[in-house]
């Protein structure tokens, strides 16, 4: 009898050198992939025993090389996500991880460190010692400086070793979880060590920020493109991996009743809010250079807006979805410099007492200059110049040290043409409030629809009621984290939820004028207290259009 048998079924799948198994979904730019891969994909499609109705997507045997393996992202997100995938038997037992950072560590030290992180940061899941033991056997560590070619030679040697020991067929995913300033250098060194190609597929995941402005994004892309083809590049935006962001597409295009209303005829305006209650939490030095506009709006929130507003793709595959998303982003009106003060607001929090505790202002945070001009709050009014959305304002705001952590999208519909009923409120009667559809991204993921209902009792008074769909608890089942979803996608060659270069550039084009104007002005910061919903100027920006920020 065999004991200790608990590997997953996906481990039965294996590859011969060069095959790109698992890439059964359509991939853009496949014409640029090596011919061998395209051939194999065609043959894999011909497998008569495939059952997409019941079989899980197979992650092929492969190795993930993490640069920045001693960093926060690896500890908090990547390793817990990979462990969770192993726990759910969604990655093969032969899976291997090679961590790299400058810190000297043995494989065992690395395993111990990662174990602590997984135990600490595993969300909504139990930790299983025996599964960890099995998973940890595939963890390796190479210490080395990112600038040193010898480091990449060591990684190449380890990959060759792992290819034999773990039957990875040479498949490797490089995860750049380093400081952004190293991205170009790491990619160049990967090319120098010929790690961008091998016996199997080679892919690279790049974390945000992808550049710090339009010019640097283009330059970075140029440098990466010299080594990797676009089809090998996975620019991660973890917001797109969130279950509820994906659910926006299901909600819009899986139902017939919303899409007819989803346009300028019925929608009055849209508010997208991403608020954090925390401050910069030790990231002051980084955040000082980035700011809220770059950190949140340029990538996550414009992508969320694109998800809410894009045209229906002809099918749910990477090419079509990303084409529509990109088309939408290109339709976002680029502000003229003179319009920026009217349509964009920056803010920075000052010290305040919240809930009996004293909170420092941004300029008092560790590592932050006392006269920092960084925006810890950014809001903008954006317009989409296409037939569906012309003239409809999209208000986007994000900030730190807000009253609570919340991300949602509020779609406000037009009021009925005739106010036939009065709304019953505690303070008396008022004109009825229009319908509101809230897509809640976090923390309580779900969808709410506010509509009016007759108040009980005599008289025809109405009051708003909310119909809630709570995504997580309605199904009671744990949803995969964004990183779990996106890692499986990258390992199986699905780029649908990854950002393409043209989308990155379109995003930068939208925010670039705002960045330019803000860089050349001296703002009177701080202009909002910690624990509030941002500067007064932001309220005034909406008031000019006759709108009011809702309180999430």
């Amino acid at each position: 009898m065999v004991t200790g048998c608990r590997s997953d079924l996906s481990s039965v799948s294996y590859l011969h050198p060069g095959a790109e198994k698992g890439d059964t979904k359509s991939r853009p730019d496949s014409s640029k992939e090596p011919v061998l891969n395209a051939t194999v994909e065609t043959m894999a499609d011909a497998n008569p025993f495939q059952d997409t109705l019941r079989f899980e997507r197979r992650v092929p045997a492969c190795a993930v090389v993490i640069f920045g393996a001693n960093g926060d992202l690896t500890k908090r997100k990547l390793l817990p996500a990979l462990y969770r995938l192993a726990y759910e038997r969604r990655i093969p037992q032969t899976f291997a991880v090679i961590g790299n950072s400058r810190t000297a560590m043995s494989d065992d030290d690395f395993r111990e460190k990662m174990k602590e992180s997984v135990q600490k940061f595993l969300e909504d899941s139990p930790f299983d010692e025996s599964i960890w033991e099995s998973f940890a056997k595939g963890l390796y560590y190479i210490a080395g400086d990112l600038q040193d070619p010898q480091c990449y030679q060591s990684i190449a040697n380890k990959l060759a070793e792992v290819e034999q020991q773990h039957q990875t067929a040479g498949n490797a995913l490089f995860y750049l979880s380093t400081q952004p300033s190293y991205y170009a250098a790491v990619v160049k060194q990967l090319g120098g060590a010929s790690l961008h190609h091998g016996n199997g597929w080679r892919r690279v995941i790049i974390e945000k920020p992808f550049g710090h402005d339009l010019a640097s994004a283009r330059e970075l892309n140029q440098e990466i493109s010299e080594v990797f083809q676009e089809s090998q590049i996975y620019r991660i935006d973890h917001y797109l991996g969130k279950e509820t962001v994906q659910n926006i597409l299901a909600f819009r295009f899986g139902n017939g009743i919303f899409e007819p209303l989803w346009n300028r005829r019925y929608i009055n305006h849209v508010q997208i809010t991403a608020a954090e209650s925390i401050g910069v939490e030790g990231r002051g030095a980084y955040y000082q250079e980035a700011g809220a506009l770059r950190d949140m709006i340029q990538n996550h929130l414009l992508q969320v807006m694109a998800t809410v507003t894009m045209e229906p793709p002809s099918s749910y595959d990477a090419d079509n979805v990303r084409d529509e998303r990109a088309k939408l982003l290109r339709s976002v009106r680029v502000m003229k410099h003179e319009d920026v003060p009217l349509y964009a607001v920056s803010g920075q929090y000052g010290p305040a007492r919240v809930g009996g505790a004293e909170f420092p202002g941004f300029r008092q945070e560790q590592g932050v200059k006392p006269d920092a001009q960084t925006d810890t709050y950014a809001a903008g009014t954006f317009y989409i110049d296409n037939w569906r959305w012309a003239g409809i304002p999209f208000y986007i705001r994000t900030g730190k040290r807000m009253p609570k952590r919340v991300t949602d999208i509020a779609i406000q519909f037009n009021a009925p043409p005739l106010a036939m009923f009065k709304q019953d409120t505690k303070s008396g009667l008022m004109a009825p409030r229009p319908n509101l559809l809230i897509l809640r991204i976090q923390p309580e993921e779900g969808i709410s629809l506010r509509f009016l209902s007759k108040s009980p009792g005599s008289g025809m008074k109405v009051r708003p009621v909310s119909m809630d769909f709570n995504y997580g608890s309605s199904f009671g089942e744990r949803s995969p984290t964004a990183y779990e979803t996106l890692l499986v996608d990258a390992l199986t060659g699905d780029t649908t939820l990854y950002t393409r270069q043209d989308m990155v550039e379109a995003n930068w084009q939208v925010v670039q004028p705002i960045l330019d104007v803000w860089a050349n002005q001296k703002s009177e910061f701080p202009n909002y207290d910690a624990g509030t919903w941002g500067p007064k100027a932001s309220d005034e920006m909406l008031a000019r259009q006759g709108h009011v920020w809702r309180v999430p």
Partner: protein, 340 residues
């Protein structure tokens, strides 16, 4: 929490359900908790009887399934000697998801009736099923799959099946040909009927399919000449017949069955044999199987497919299952007396 319905009228059951929900909400409010969340994705009707030896396990499975498929569960128990001829009661199954304060509750209605009252059940269900949502019937009555089933039972089941989006049965038992024959008649007219014996094959099929992801083996597909299926039962169980049917669709090979005691019941080994290649998948322990294909020799977990796992998989698929439909059709050729 439960309430007994004194008279079995749909309105009365619905009224009692309404009161149950109100009281649940009030209890929570008193405790200062957020109110319960009512979730419902389907009506799940479970038909069981005295012969159902695993009724307790099935009952627990039903509770577990509610976490993933919140439903109005209606359990129909056909009992020879119930307290009275037909009774009903309503109860709620509540739980708190990991790390959440809010309770989620699903409702359950239990109807107990003597076999004579089978025809009365259909109209009751018609009044209490959740409108506009799928209806799944999980038929656990073994007698329903036997020729000896009574006319009343047949009539009662038919009235339920007529309401169903999908019917789920389990042909695991002593006489697979008879059960498959019953299933064939139920599937007539395009009705969606799933068999948990097919569901239990998923890990076996997934492993075999995985082997054919290897292009070199896929290229040799036409050279496989024999399919050998080894099972522990004296005659091939329905799972072996389905597997034979499924493999026959993709391979031009003859099929042979053999019996061998091994680890537990059901399939023990499947081998695809040819002059140029062999693929073998064999159970090598109670929880383990080994796949041998070309240069690959891989041991992997093949634990017993729990009832929960099988039902969960089936409830995720409410539409037609083309692979099962064609495997089922092919499996007819391997029934005793069939012309191969």
């Amino acid at each position: 929490m439960s309430a007994v319905v004194n008279a079995v009228h749909p309105e009365k059951i619905l009224k009692d359900l309404g009161e149950l929900w109100t009281s649940l909400g009030e209890d929570e409010k008193k405790q200062g908790q957020p109110t319960v969340l009512r979730a419902c994705a389907m009506t799940l009707i479970v038909v069981t009887d005295d012969e159902d030896e695993d009724a307790l396990a099935a009952s627990q499975t039903l509770v577990d399934l509610m976490h993933v498929h919140p439903s109005r569960a209606i359990v129909i128990r056909v009992a020879s000697e119930p307290e009275s001829e037909i009774t009903a009661r309503v109860l709620a199954q509540c739980w708190k998801p990991f790390g959440k304060a809010q309770q989620i509750c699903s409702e359950q209605i239990e109807i107990q009736a003597t076999p004579d009252h089978w025809p009365d059940i259909g109209p009751i269900i018609l009044g209490i099923m959740v409108p506009d949502l799928p209806v799944v019937v999980w038929c656990r009555q073994k007698s329903a799959l036997r020729r000896a089933g009574s006319a009343t039972q047949h009539e009662g089941l038919e009235s339920l099946f007529a309401l169903a989006t999908k019917v789920i049965v389990d042909t695991r038992g002593p006489n697979p040909p008879e059960a498959i024959e019953a299933l064939r008649s139920w599937k007539n007219g395009g009705r969606i009927v799933a068999d948990l014996q097919w569901t239990r094959l998923t890990p076996w099929r997934e492993a075999i399919s995985g082997a054919f992801d290897e292009p070199q083996l896929l290229a040799l597909r036409d050279s496989f000449q024999t399919i050998e299926i080894v099972h522990s039962e004296p005659s091939p169980p329905s799972s072996a017949l389905y597997l034979a049917g499924w493999l026959s669709q993709g391979l031009n090979a003859s099929v042979s069955f053999a019996q061998r005691t091994g680890f537990g019941t059901g399939l023990q080994r499947v081998a695809l044999l040819g002059p140029n290649a062999t693929i073998e998948l064999e159970r090598v322990g109670p929880q383990c199987a080994e796949l041998r294909a070309g240069s690959l020799r891989q041991t992997f977990a093949l634990s017993t497919f729990s009832l929960y796992k099988a039902m969960n998989e089936e409830l995720n698929i409410l539409g037609p299952d083309d692979q099962f439909r064609s495997a089922f059709a092919q499996a007819q050729a391997f029934l005793p007396g069939a012309n191969r």
